[in-house]
Symmetry: C2
Subunit: 163 residues, 2 copies
DNA sequence: TATGAAATTTACCATTT
DNA sequence: AAATGGTAAATTTCATA
């Protein structure tokens, strides 16, 4: 159930991960197939949610969100509940919310303009029910973000055909 | 210098962030402009690095990387140095590397298959010069990832025309 | 910077193998 | 599943405003 991808699927994924705006025809040339066949594979990958979507990577600093931070949010939620996390995720500037093992904690990735905006956002965190406290780590420099996901390198099939 | 974007640029960015594979023509229809004008704006946004690229969002679990973790890596580097971070960033499975304030620390986002693969990757971290120790937090569930970056809502210009 | 027209390329769909 | 072929649509360049 995990992945029934063949070599061509992986090639297509690699190309799309590298440049999501590449044309179908260009993909077809790269993989040595007819464009219609490539299109059908892409549609299938989308349908099976191997591809979740396509997005432009925007420069946060150019858009007035030059400050990145990670905040650990401790809550008093029941075990396994994620209501607080979902509420945090709705606040503008919150980019990721992960529920972590260890303490009853969320790890939240933030994009804000400056420390003033950070303070305002953290204040909003405090207003979310069950939030007990927060601990924030400010990012000084980002060495790398959005490294590509390593793709399996298959010689041929991988277990079988695709559905 | 930060952003000389007008309302139409922001509209274009919003559409591309939502679906990077949207056609030029569709963008043009949405913003009420000729496709050629939209194309030129996109090229300019790319040139000015407001748009950094376009990427497919892939499902890590479907690609055999169902385990997400964040690792704090403490190093003995000189202040401001990022060689260790750059080396960490080259290891397959490392998706982000941020240099953080507070301790001499990197915060690293990982995508691995399972705890065995995690152990192997952390062992590689230990082999990087100046790395002193690591502390890893495992993600149980991800409430949200890749929330869109909030875009400025401009009524008209914002300071002036674009370069 | 925007438009509109023209040439090229692409996407899409029905059909065949 | 993949290729083919035909039509509509989109991309891109360029002249012009």
């Amino acid at each position: 159930m995990a992945y029934d991808l063949d070599r061509i699927d992986v090639q297509i994924l690699r190309l799309l991960q590298e440049n999501a705006r590449i044309s179908n025809a260009a993909i077809a040339r790269e993989v040595g197939m007819a464009p219609s066949a490539v299109l059908e594979r892409i549609r299938k990958l989308e349908r099976r949610q191997v591809i979740l979507g396509y997005t432009a990577q925007l420069n946060p600093a150019a858009l007035g969100r030059g400050l990145t931070a990670f905040t650990n949010v401790r809550t008093e939620e029941a075990v396994g509940a994620t209501e607080a996390g979902e509420e945090l995720a709705r606040l503008p500037g919150v980019q990721e919310v992960h529920h972590t093992a260890g303490q009853d904690c969320y790890l939240v990735k933030l994009r804000v303009a400056d420390t003033t905006a950070l303070a305002q956002l953290l204040k909003q965190f405090g207003a979310v029910p069950t939030v007990r406290d927060t601990r924030t780590t400010i990012v000084l420099t980002t060495v790398c973000e959005s490294n590509p996901l390593p793709l399996p390198d298959l010689e041929a099939g991988e277990g079988g055909r695709q559905a």
